[in-house]
C-alpha cells in the first residue's frame, strides 16, 4: 500500500506557496489557524503603501455622472433627441425610456485645474485640486444589489469578502480600542443599501474581518456599556477575579497561547469600553470644526456627524470606514428614477458641506496624506430621460464617475473618458476590478498576490482581472 506522506510544510506550501511578501499571521489566517494569535494585529503590505486607511463615501443608488462631475456639452446640444439603437433593457424600466436629456445643472470651472463641476457641489468644487476623477468606470450589472456587491466585493454575486474585509484581513488594524472596519448607514430611517449587511460581509474570510455596522440609533456598538446595576469598581473587581481564576487554570496548562490571548482580550475589552464612546462622541469637537462639517445644519447634520466620526476613527487608527449616503432605493437614495433634479439636489445638499469639511479637516491635520478618500456609487445613470411626472434617469452599468483623493493619489487630474453623451465608458475604460486593484496598490498590495484559499480555490478581490490605474497615482 502506497500512501502519500503528509507533512505540515507541504500543506503550508499548498496554501501559501507563491503568495510571497505576506506575514506569517496572514498565511496562517489563510488556513483558519488564527487561534492564539491576534487576528487584527497590524501587518505590512507587499510593499510600502502610501495610504494607511480608507474612507469610502458610498454614493448609494447610483449618482448620475453627467449631472455631477462628467461635463457633457454635446448632450446639451442633443437634448430632446431620441438615441437610435438604444437597448431598452439597459436600465431597470424598459417601458419608460425617453429621449436624451441635458443636465438640469449648470457647470462651471473650479479650482486651479479648472475642472468643470456641476452646481450641485458648491463647496466640494473647492477641492477638485485634491481629486483624481475616473470618468470611464463601468460595471457588470444594471440592478442595485448585484452592482453593490460588484463594487464592494469585486463580483456581482452574494457571499464574497468586501474590500474592507480584504484590507483588514491583510493589514490588521492600528487601533486596539476600536473596530478595524466600520460602516455607517443612513440614520434617517430611509433603509439600508440593497443587499444589506452582505455589502460589508467577510464572505469566506473569518468573520472577525467583517465590517462593524454602527447602529444609527442608541449605542453604536453592541455590549459597549457596563450592566446598569454595576459600577466601575464592581466590574473591575469581576475582571480582577477573572484574571486570578484564569491564571490558576493556565498555570496547569503552560504553552497554550490561545488561552493567554483570551485572558488579554478581557483587558482589551475593558479599554475599548472606555475608549470607544469617547471616539464616537463628536460633541467633544470644538465648535469651529463642527461648523466646518455642517453639524447643526438642518439639511446635512446627519451626514456631517458621520463624516466627523470617520475622521475621528482614522485618527485613532481604524483601517477602513465606509459611509453610505442615502438609504435603500428610489427617492430614499441617489436612485433618481423620478425627478433627477430634485433627487440629486437633495442628496448633494446632504453631503456637499460634510465631505468638503472632511477633506479640509483631514488636510489641515496632515491625515490626508495617508488616508485614501473614495467617492462613488454602484453604477451611473443614463443620459436619457426616464419618463415620469418630473423627468428622471435610469440605471447605467456602462458608465460612471468616481473620484479618489489623498492616500498618494494625484490631485486635479481626470482619467478616462465617457463617450460624448456620457452613455458608455469610451477612452481608457476602468473596470471595477481596476478600481479595486488601485485601492489595494495604495495600501501596499499587489492585487494579484493577495489571495485566500477556500474550498480548494484561490480567491482574489479582483478575480481574474484588475490593473492598477497608474496615471492617477502621485
Amino acid at each position: 500500500m502506497n500512501f502519500p506522506e503528509y507533512t505540515r510544510r507541504h500543506w503550508l506550501q499548498r496554501a501559501g506557496a507563491g503568495v510571497g511578501g505576506l506575514g506569517l499571521a496572514t498565511l496562517l489566517a489563510d488556513e483558519g489557524l488564527l487561534d492564539g494569535g491576534d487576528p487584527l494585529a497590524p501587518r505590512k503590505g507587499h510593499f510600502g503603501g502610501k495610504a494607511k486607511s480608507v474612507i469610502w463615501l458610498f454614493i448609494n443608488g447610483g449618482p448620475s455622472q453627467v449631472d455631477t462631475w462628467d461635463y457633457k456639452p454635446e448632450l446639451e446640444k442633443m437634448d430632446g433627441k431620441e438615441l437610435n439603437g438604444f437597448d431598452k433593457n439597459t436600465g431597470f424600466f424598459a417601458n419608460a425610456v425617453g429621449p436624451l436629456m441635458k443636465s438640469p445643472f449648470e457647470f462651471t470651472p473650479r479650482g486651479q485645474c479648472g475642472k468643470m463641476v456641476s452646481s450641485l457641489f458648491p463647496k466640494l468644487g473647492e477641492h477638485v485640486d485634491k481629486m483624481a476623477f475616473i470618468h470611464s468606470g463601468h460595471t457588470e450589472s444594471n440592478n442595485h444589489s448585484p452592482a453593490l456587491f460588484m463594487m464592494n466585493s469585486g463580483q456581482p454575486r452574494m457571499g464574497l469578502p468586501c474590500v474592507g474585509s480584504w484590507v483588514t484581513y491583510s493589514l490588521g488594524s492600528e487601533s486596539r480600542d476600536l473596530p478595524a472596519f466600520v460602516v455607517m448607514s443612513d440614520p434617517l430611517n430611509r433603509g439600508l443599501p440593497k443587499g444589506h449587511a452582505a455589502n460589508w460581509g467577510a464572505g469566506f474570510l473569518p468573520s472577525v474581518y467583517q465590517g462593524t455596522w454602527l447602529k444609527p440609533k442608541g449605542d453604536p456598538i453592541d455590549n459597549l456599556n457596563r450592566p446598569k446595576h454595576m459600577n466601575d469598581a464592581q466590574q473591575l473587581r469581576q475582571l480582577a477575579l477573572l484574571k486570578k481564576l484564569n491564571g490558576e487554570h493556565i498555570k496547569e496548562r503552560p504553552g497554550d497561547a490561545e488561552l493567554e490571548a483570551r485572558i488579554k482580550s478581557f483587558e482589551l475589552a475593558y479599554r475599548m469600553q472606555n475608549a470607544a464612546p469617547e471616539a464616537f462622541d463628536i460633541d467633544r469637537e470644538p465648535e469651529h470644526i463642527k461648523k466646518l462639517y455642517g453639524v447643526g445644519e438642518k439639511r446635512c447634520d446627519h451626514f456631517a456627524r458621520q463624516c466627523l466620526t470617520a475622521r475621528r476613527m482614522v485618527e485613532r487608527g481604524v483601517r477602513f470606514v465606509q459611509i453610505y449616503s442615502g438609504g435603500m432605493e428610489n427617492q430614499r437614495s441617489w436612485d433618481g428614477h423620478n425627478d433627477i433634479q430634485g433627487n440629486h439636489s437633495q442628496f448633494a445638499g446632504e453631503t456637499d458641506t460634510p465631505i468638503a469639511g472632511l477633506l479640509s479637516d483631514l488636510e489641515q491635520r496632515g491625515l490626508l496624506n495617508d488616508t485614501l478618500v473614495i467617492w462613488g456609487g454602484e453604477f451611473g445613470r443614463l443620459p436619457l430621460t426616464q419618463k415620469s411626472k418630473k423627468p428622471g434617469r435610469d440605471h447605467n452599468p456602462h458608465c460612471f464617475t468616481t473620484w479618489m483623493a489623498g492616500g498618494g493619489i494625484k490631485g486635479g487630474v481626470s482619467y478616462g473618458e465617457s463617450d460624448e453623451i456620457g452613455h458608455h465608458a469610451a477612452v481608457d475604460k476602468a473596470h471595477v476590478n481596476d478600481i479595486h486593484a488601485t485601492i489595494l496598490h495604495q495600501l501596499g498590495f499587489n492585487h494579484e498576490k493577495l489571495t485566500y484559499v477556500y474550498n480548494g480555490r484561490r480567491f482574489r478581490l479582483t478575480d481574474v482581472g484588475g490593473k492598477v490605474i497608474k496615471p492617477i497615482l502621485a
Partner: protein, 1025 residues
C-alpha cells in the same frame, strides 16, 4: 479543422524589440540552446502535465507566450532577473514538495544550467511544442492515472498495525500509536475522569453535565455513558449544526430584500431527526438529493430536499439577468452537493476545465444539468402521516363497531315490531310539523356555462366553477304543498367560497338583484306569482341592498346582500306572495334568481322552501323536506316503498331512547374522525408550483427546460444541450453515467428521476462515488471530535486539499463505516471510546517541538466551544434552557431554546453567534475558524442576556452559607469543586461585592450573579477540557 503553426519566434511581439536592440546574436544562441536541450527537456519532463494532457497549476509550457504568462503560483520566467525565475527554483528542488519534475530524479546540473542560460537569452522558442486546434482547446481527458489520486482511488482494505503495550484500546489507537512511534512521539496519559465526562457531554450533546448527571457518570461505565449521550435528543441538535454549515443553510433568499423562507426550517428539523434516529449516512445523502422521488410519501424525505434550495437567490431580477441567475442557482446546487458530500470543488469547472482536479468543463455541465428542472416550492405536507394513518385505522375499527351495533339494534325483531305499530298510528302528528317545506329540486341551471349547480342531500343547491361576472339561476321544483303563501331563500355557507360565503364574491358576499316565482302547469304554461313583502335574518342595508329590493322595479342595481355582519354565516330571506297560491295537481314551481348588480356576486349555496302558514318564522333551517312530505302522502295512500320506509324509520327511531343512544355514539365518533395535519414545507423538487418571486410579474420562468454547455460560463455563448451525467473520474470499470440513471415508475409524471440517478451514483461504493462519500463523511466526524480532520481540509479532497495525516486509518474507518451500514453512531462510539480521544489535553514543550500542531494526536487539542455551545452551556448551567425541539426559529436573542433554533436570516445574522465565528451561510463551510477578539470579552462582560442568565444562576445558588453556594456554583458550571484558593478568592469577591451593593436587600444575590458571570467568562468554561 484549422491548425496554427508559427515557424519563428521572431514574429512574436516582444522579440522584435530584442532584435532591434542588436541582440540578434543572443537570440541565435538562445534558439540553438532551445533546439539542442531545452525543447527535448520540456517535452520529456514538463509538457504532459503543463500543456498537453493537463495544465497543472495553470502553467502551460507549450508556447513561449503561455510560458511567460506563468502559472497560478507565480511567474515561471523572470526575464529581468533570470536567476530568480520560479521555474529554476522548482527544478533546482529549492521548494519542498514542489520539486519538479515530480516523482522523477532531479534534472542533471548541466541541463539546469542550460535552462538558466536560455532564460538569460530571453527564453526563445522556434515553434510551439504542440500543434493545437485553434478554436477548440484540447478537452481534458480523464485517465486511469487521474483515478489513482489518493481520494479518488477505491478504499484500501487495511489491517490495523500491531502495536506494543496496552495503551491502544482499539483499532483507531493502533493506527495512531504506530504514527506516533514513527514520529518519535508518545501519547498523553488518559484525561481525568471528570474532564473526560465533561468533554463527552460537550462533544456529543453540546451541554455540560448537571451535578446529578456528573455523579451518575462517575459511577457508571464510559461505554454506557456514550450510549446514553448518543441516545439523547440533544445529540441531534448539536451535530445537526455541523452539517448545516456544510449545507450553507439559511432561511432567507439573501440579496436585495432578503425575503424570509418561512418554511425552510423543516430542513433543519430533518437533519436533527435523521441524526437522532441514526439514519444510515447513505440514506441521509440520498434523501437530500432526491427524497421527493425516493420516498414521496415520507414527510421526512420531502423535508430533506430543502438541502438543494438552501442557497442564496436574488429577489429582484431584470430580464437580462433571468438566465444567468438560473445558471448561478444550478451552480449553487451542484457546487454545494460536490463540496458538502464529496469534498470536490465542481464549480471551478464552470468557465474552464478544473485547474487542479480532473473535472473537465463538460463534466460540470452534465452534472449541473441533473438539476435543470429542480426548483424551490412550498407544499402542504402531513408531517405525521404515519401517525395519521395509524390513528385513522384505529378510529375506523371502533367506528365500524358502533355502526354495526346500531344496525343490529335497528333490525332486531322487537324494534321492527314497534316500528310497524308506529306506522299504524298517527304518523303525521309524530313527525313534528314544520312551517317550512323544502322544495324538491327537479332541475337547476345557471345562465352561464361556467357555473354548475348541484343538488345536495339537505335539499340545498351548491354552485361550483369559476363565478362569472353576472348570471341567473333557474330552479324547477316539486312543491309537495297545495297552498303557498311564502317563499324562503336560504343563503348558506360552504368552505368552497371566500370567507365561507354565502356568496361567491371575493369578500364572500352576494347580491340577489332580482327574484321571480312562477307556477308551471303540466303543459309548461307559466303564471307569475307576485311578491309583495320581505324580511331577512340579515340585510346589508334597508334600502338598495335589502331583501325587499330583490323584487323592486330595478332588476340590476339593487338586491339582497349580507355584508357588514352577515358574511360567513347562514342567512335567510322570506318573501310574501301577493295572493296565496293554490297549486293544482301536477303544477310545479319555478324560481328565477338573478345576480347582476356586482361582479361575481352570486349565491354559492342556497335552499328554497315554501310555507302555507299565515306567519312562518324568519329563520334558517327547520324545513321539512319535500321527500318526507311525499312519504307521508304515500303512507296515507298505502303505496309506501322501501325508500319511504327508511325515511320514516328515521323519524320513528328518534322516539326510541335506546336507538338514540346508539346513534349518538356513532355521531360522536364521526366528529372525532382524525384529520391529517398539514404544514407548509419548503422542498426542492420538480413540477410543483414555484415559490413566489418578485420578478414573476416580469415573466421570470424559474427554470429553463434545457441546460447548455456554455463558453466561459456565459449563457449568451451556448454550445449545445448537456445531458445529465456524473464525474468521469469517479466512474470505474468502464461504467458510464447510464449505469446509474433511474427511470420513474410507469404512473409517475411529476419529476424526471434525474436526481435519483445522482443519488444512486453518489452512494455506489463499487463503481461510483460512494467510497469518496464515505471518506468525506468519516473525516467530517473525525474533524469535529479532534478539531482537525485526518484530512485537514474537510471540504477539499482534491489536488489542492491537504493530504491525509493517517491515510490508512481513514480508509480503515471508511470501510468499516460502509460495512456497518453507514452507522454514524457506531463511528462516534468507536472514536469516543478510543484512547486517542480520551487522552489528556496537557501541553508539552518537547512534543510540541516535534509536532507543534498536534497533527499526530499526542494530546487532545483543547478548543474553544462553538458559538452555539457557548450560549447553550450558559443557558443550561443557569437552569434557563427551554428544551422545546423543532419548529420555526426566531431572531430574538432573548429566546431560551437551543441556539440551533435561531432563525438564520442572511441580512440579520445573530450578533451573538457571529461574534464567535458562526460562518456566513453563503457557501459550504467545512471548518470554522476560532478567533479570540475583544468584542467576545465585551459580550461576557456586558451583554444583557449573559447578565440576565447569570442573575438567574446567582439567585438559585445564593445562600447564607457562602462556601456551599460557591461549591454549588462550581459544580453546576465547571463540573467540579473549587480548589482552596479558588474558594477563598471567590469568597473574598462575594464579601466585597455584597458590601459594595450596600443595603440592597438582594445584595448577596447580586454578588452571586456577578460571580456567575465571572465563571461564564472563564477559559475553563468555554474550552473543551
Amino acid at each position: 479543422m484549422r491548425f496554427y503553426f508559427l515557424t519563428f519566434a521572431f514574429f512574436l511581439p516582444g522579440f522584435s524589440a530584442l532584435a532591434q536592440e542588436g541582440h540578434a546574436e543572443k537570440m541565435k544562441a538562445g534558439l540553438a540552446l532551445f533546439q539542442k536541450s531545452i525543447r527535448p527537456a520540456l517535452i520529456d519532463n514538463c509538457l504532459k502535465c503543463h500543456g498537453d494532457e493537463k495544465v497543472r497549476s495553470g502553467l502551460d509550457v507549450s508556447t513561449r507566450e503561455l510560458l511567460l504568462e506563468g502559472g497560478d503560483l507565480d511567474d515561471a520566467i523572470n526575464l529581468e532577473e533570470p536567476k530568480k525565475s520560479y521555474l529554476l527554483t522548482l527544478i533546482r528542488h529549492e521548494e519542498e514538495d514542489l520539486e519538479m519534475p515530480p516523482k522523477k530524479d532531479k534534472l542533471p546540473d548541466s541541463l539546469i544550467a542550460d535552462f538558466e542560460r536560455w532564460i538569460e537569452l530571453g527564453a526563445p522558442y522556434d515553434k510551439p511544442l504542440l500543434e493545437k486546434k485553434e478554436d477548440e482547446p484540447t478537452e481534458m481527458q480523464i485517465t486511469q492515472g487521474d483515478r489513482e489520486f489518493w481520494s479518488f482511488k477505491t478504499l484500501a482494505q487495511v489491517t490495523p498495525p500491531k502495536v506494543e503495550g496496552n495503551w491502544a484500546k482499539g483499532e483507531i489507537d493502533q493506527f495512531v500509536q504506530r504514527k506516533l512511534q514513527q514520529k518519535k512521539l508518545t501519547a498523553n496519559p488518559p484525561a481525568k475522569d471528570v474532564d473526560w465526562i465533561r468533554r463527552a457531554y460537550l462533544s456529543v450533546i453540546g451541554l455540560p453535565p448537571t451535578p446529578e448527571q456528573l455523579k451518575a457518570a462517575k459511577s457508571g461505565s464510559r461505554a454506557d455513558l456514550v450510549d446514553e449521550l448518543l441516545a439523547s435528543p440533544h445529540y441531534g441538535e448539536r451535530w445537526a449544526r455541523h452539517w448545516l454549515d456544510a449545507a450553507r443553510f439559511a432561511e432567507s433568499h439573501g440579496f436585495e430584500q432578503d425575503y424570509d423562507r418561512k418554511y425552510a426550517y423543516h430542513y433543519r428539523d430533518f437533519v436533527i431527526k435523521a441524526l437522532n434516529s441514526n439514519m444510515p449516512w447513505n440514506d441521509f445523502i440520498r434523501l437530500q438529493i432526491a427524497g421527493d422521488e425516493i420516498a414521496p410519501n415520507d414527510p421526512l424525505a420531502m423535508m430533506a430536499t430543502g438541502f438543494l434550495g438552501a442557497g442564496v437567490f436574488p429577489t429582484q431580477l431584470t430580464e437580462k439577468e433571468f438566465e444567468s441567475a438560473r445558471y448561478d442557482e444550478l451552480d449553487d446546487m451542484a457546487g454545494t452537493t460536490g463540496t458538502a458530500m464529496l469534498g470536490l470543488t465542481i464549480g471551478c469547472a464552470r468557465c474552464h476545465d478544473h485547474k487542479f482536479d480532473p473535472i473537465p468543463e463538460k463534466d460540470y455541465y452534465r452534472f449541473v444539468s441533473i438539476f435543470t428542472t429542480t426548483i424551490r416550492s412550498e407544499i402542504d405536507v402531513d408531517l405525521n402521516s404515519k401517525e395519521y394513518e395509524d390513528s385513522l385505522k384505529t378510529w375506523q375499527k371502533a367506528h365500524d363497531n358502533l355502526v354495526a351495533a346500531r344496525n343490529s339494534y335497528e333490525t332486531s325483531p322487537s324494534v321492527t315490531r314497534a316500528f310497524e305499530g308506529w306506522l299504524g298510528g298517527d304518523v303525521r302528528k309524530s313527525v313534528a310539523e314544520s312551517e317550512w317545506t323544502v322544495l324538491e329540486t327537479r332541475s337547476a341551471k345557471s345562465s352561464q356555462k361556467a357555473t354548475k349547480l348541484t343538488p345536495q342531500d339537505d335539499g340545498a343547491i351548491l354552485a361550483s366553477g369559476n363565478a362569472p361576472a353576472k348570471e341567473t339561476y333557474t330552479v324547477s321544483t316539486a312543491p309537495h304543498l297545495s297552498t303557498v303563501r311564502f317563499l324562503r331563500v336560504e343563503a348558506l355557507t360552504h368552505n368552497s367560497m371566500n370567507r365561507n360565503g354565502p356568496g361567491r364574491a371575493s369578500n364572500g358576499n352576494f347580491a340577489l338583484s332580482d327574484l321571480k316565482l312562477f307556477a308551471v302547469d303540466a303543459k309548461g304554461k307559466k303564471r307569475q306569482l307576485n311578491l309583495v313583502g320581505a324580511k331577512a335574518t340579515h340585510q346589508q342595508n334597508t334600502d338598495s341592498l335589502s331583501a325587499a329590493s330583490s323584487f323592486d322595479k330595478d332588476p340590476n342595481g339593487t338586491g339582497w346582500a349580507v355584508d357588514f355582519g352577515g358574511i360567513g354565516k347562514d342567512q335567510a330571506a322570506v318573501y310574501e306572495l301577493e295572493k296565496a297560491a293554490k297549486l293544482k295537481e301536477g303544477e310545479t314551481l319555478e324560481v328565477a334568481l338573478r345576480f347582476s348588480n356586482n361582479s361575481q356576486h352570486s349565491l354559492g349555496r342556497f335552499r328554497l322552501s315554501v310555507s302555507g302558514d299565515p306567519a312562518p318564522p324568519v329563520k334558517v333551517g327547520g324545513g321539512r323536506d319535500g321527500a318526507l312530505s311525499a312519504a307521508l302522502v304515500a303512507l296515507e295512500k298505502g303505496t309506501l316503498d322501501q325508500k319511504n320506509r327508511e325515511m320514516l324509520f328515521g323519524h320513528f327511531a328518534k322516539t326510541d331512547e335506546n336507538w338514540v343512544k346508539h346513534d349518538d355514539a356513532v355521531r360522536r365518533s364521526e366528529g372525532s374522525k382524525p384529520k391529517p395535519k398539514t404544514t407548509k414545507v419548503q422542498v426542492s423538487s420538480e413540477g410543483f408550483k414555484p415559490t413566489k418571486h418578485h420578478a414573476d410579474g416580469r415573466g421570470f420562468p424559474h427554470f429553463y427546460k434545457e441546460t447548455h454547455f456554455l463558453s466561459r460560463g456565459d449563457p449568451n455563448q451556448k454550445k449545445g444541450v448537456a445531458q445529465p451525467g456524473y464525474l468521469q473520474v469517479l466512474m470505474r470499470d468502464g461504467k458510464e453515467s447510464e449505469s446509474w440513471k433511474a427511470t420513474p415508475p410507469a404512473e409517475w409524471k411529476r419529476t424526471s428521476y434525474r436526481r435519483t440517478g445522482l443519488a444512486n451514483w453518489l452512494t455506489d461504493v463499487d463503481h461510483g462515488a460512494g467510497h469518496l462519500l464515505a471518506r468525506v463523511a468519516v473525516n467530517r466526524i473525525w474533524h469535529h471530535h479532534f478539531g482537525r480532520g485526518i484530512v485537514a481540509t474537510p471540504n477539499d479532497f482534491g489536488l489542492q486539499g491537504a493530504l491525509p495525516s493517517h491515510p490508512e486509518l481513514l480508509d480503515y474507518l471508511a470501510v468499516k463505516f460502509i460495512k456497518s451500514g453507514w452507522d454514524v453512531k457506531a463511528l462516534h462510539r468507536e472514536i469516543l471510546l478510543s484512547a486517542a480521544w480520551g487522552q489528556s489535553s496537557a501541553n508539552s514543550k518537547k512534543k510540541a517541538s516535534i509536532d507543534p500542531d498536534n497533527d499526530f494526536i499526542w494530546r487532545f487539542t483543547p478548543r474553544r466551544l462553538e458559538a452555539e455551545i457557548v450560549r447553550d452551556s450558559i443557558l443550561a448551567s443557569a437552569g434557563q434552557l427551554d428544551a422545546t425541539m423543532y419548529g420555526p426559529g426566531t431572531l430574538d436573542e432573548r429566546h431560551r431554546r437551543r441556539s440551533i433554533y435561531f432563525m438564520i436570516k442572511r441580512s440579520k445574522l445573530v450578533p451573538m453567534m457571529q461574534i464567535f465565528d458562526q460562518p456566513e451561510p453563503l457557501s459550504s463551510q467545512g471548518s470554522r475558524p476560532s478567533t479570540t477578539i475583544a468584542p467576545q470579552a465585551l459580550l461576557f462582560m456586558n451583554n444583557a442576556q449573559v447578565v440576565q442568565w447569570a442573575s438567574a444562576l446567582g439567585a438559585s445558588v445564593a445562600s447564607d452559607d457562602v462556601t456551599s453556594s460557591i461549591k454549588d456554583l462550581y459544580l453546576r458550571t465547571l463540573s467540579r469543586e473549587p480548589s482552596p484558593s479558588e474558594l477563598s478568592n471567590s469568597r473574598s469577591f462575594i464579601e466585597a461585592q455584597t458590601a459594595s451593593y450596600g443595603g440592597a436587600k438582594n445584595s448577596k444575590q447580586l454578588a452571586f450573579a456577578d460571580l456567575s458571570q465571572v465563571i461564564f467568562s472563564l477559559n475553563e468554561f468555554v474550552y473543551l477540557p
